[in-house]
Subunit: 329 residues, 2 copies
């Protein structure tokens, strides 16, 4: 069966989105499709995976492949402007090929009125995951949550919501009912969201796809009752092991929400229970005025201050400075 | 008194280390001093602060200052090769000047046999911290620990150890006795270290210095009984508020140690109790062979596997791939 599938030209949606044409050394062309859009812009996790694909190919051409440095191990992306449906150019360079890691840089650009505009720039180190994944001396245990069949599929969302988020048709996402109350107006306000996730077309997960899945859940701010955009400003990811086939369990959480910025930490475990990836991002959030009191009601705010002062809230959500797209507009 | 101090040419050690000569647009020269060395290389936190200084000056020249974008908000550094005592060149570029943040890139290079060799490359976004620090809706509470006077000063370390770590003379570090057992051969094995810290010459702390303090404690792996180098491969920092004058409380922790790599999370609170900065780094660790069993004894390893397999351990500690210097050699 594996042999049969391997011999068929069965392009998955994700592989199709990551297809690149090599133009010259360090220059590749791809295409951002509206199938991966959410709220009007192309999803930031997909941009990271596409940039990671381009950089991986570039490093392989420059010696990294000979050393087996074919998987991202650390990946830090800065989101510079909102991406649009259409052609994209990937420019990559080698920073350093070392013995145990190769480090490079990659930019994703799109033409806007005839000028190349940078959407994302990233630094990343690639290595041989088989070497770095064993032995496991210590790792966060996978949280307990109901099995996928006992969770509500995100596909059950209202049609109007799904139309604004074609991205949600690319994945099969099953949120833990304990952290999905926001969808019916009852956020837990704990600042946590958990779910099982896989590609809708069952494409097997791999290291590169973890860059996508680390940012594929709705913003954790939904669980604080803050609905709306949460554009990523910066996201740094660590890939710690090649994931096993099957469902991934993603947990995101935030502990720090100040002045229109929040950090969002993500952890991913595979079906074996291995913690395969983690990330932290800084994202902008827009607070509905007067809603600050509700947010402070969450745990972990032992010494919140300026309770009534929400005058700066929402500064970060403006489109001018938002690169990544997540959330509903 | 403030006026008197302000009028005196009283250069502090940190300001001296961060002094830069502007050579041309985007090129500055500085000097790495052995006063900031630890274990034979210049401290990675100092490199980040120096790079942050250069990029801040560059962004100010290119419009960022007009918008008040004068403090690092997000800073992601990749460490490429071990730095040495001597001259350093800082090359910076503007990536994007936005309305609420300015993003740039900076490299730190040194001559090695007549060739410029890159020690560190970073992407960073600068902004107006006063705008982003308020209101505080949610933040991690500052952990309880004994007052500085009730903690053992790191200066009490054996003279032989202190000679290898001139950096430790630059700071006044008071470790929580509960997490300092490793210094006398009794690590807690919880994977946590906490301490009060300030500059030895009492230079006031500021946003830029937080890039230094985020990496100024000994590696958290010491608390797992893993003594030795823990070179930083990548560190991403978020600065969330300008710190108040006085002591900083730094807490570092690790939850994931696999195949010679660990993540180290750092949090810093100021004397008011504000969480002012946080970071996550990926660092190499070298496991003494046969010691894996002790490490696995730590909490949070509910499903550790391959218990006896330490054959890959220690790969990351080799000098060839280590950029940052921390720990004792």
């Amino acid at each position: 069966m594996a042999g049969l599938l391997g011999s068929l030209p069965c392009m998955t949606e994700f592989d199709d989105a990551l297809a690149l044409d090599r133009v010259s050394d360090g220059v590749r062309r791809g295409r951002l499709g509206e199938a991966w859009a959410i709220g009007g812009a192309v999803h930031g996790g997909l941009l990271m995976a596409l940039a990671g694909q381009a950089l991986g190919q570039h490093l392989a051409e420059h010696g990294g492949n000979a050393s087996g440095h074919d998987s991202p191990v650390a990946f830090s992306a800065y989101f510079l402007s909102p991406s649009a449906d259409g052609a994209a150019e990937l420019r990559s360079e080698v920073v350093r090929v070392g013995r145990s890691m190769s480090t490079g840089q990659v930019s994703l650009l799109q033409d806007a009125d005839g000028e190349p505009v940078e959407r994302l720039r990233a630094l990343a180190s690639y290595g041989d995951l088989a070497r770095w994944a064993q032995p496991v001396l210590r790792e966060p245990p996978r949280p307990r949550m109901p099995a996928p069949d006992e969770c509500a599929p995100a596909g059950a969302a209202p049609a109007q919501l799904r139309t604004a988020m074609p991205l949600m048709e690319r994945v099969d996402l099953r949120l833990d009912p304990a952290t999905a109350g926001w969808a019916v107006g009852r956020p837990s306000r704990l600042g946590v969201m958990r779910g099982w996730i896989r590609f809708a077309d069952r494409r097997p997960v791999d290291a590169l796809s973890l860059l996508f899945f680390l940012d594929a859940l709705p913003p954790v701010s939904f669980d604080l009752g803050i609905m709306g955009w949460a554009p990523t400003l910066e996201l740094s990811a660590h890939i710690r092991a090649e994931p096993a086939e099957g469902w991934l369990l993603v947990e995101i959480a935030t502990r720090t929400v100040t002045g229109g910025l929040m950090e969002e930490d993500a952890l991913i475990w595979d079906e074996r229970g291995r913690m395969v990836a983690q990330s932290r991002q800084l994202a902008g959030i827009r607070l509905p005025s007067g809603d600050a009191g509700d947010v402070r009601g969450a745990r972990d705010v032992g010494h919140a201050r300026d309770p009534g002062d929400a005058r700066n809230a929402g500064d970060a959500g403006d489109a001018e400075d938002s690169g990544d797209a997540r959330g509903v507009g």
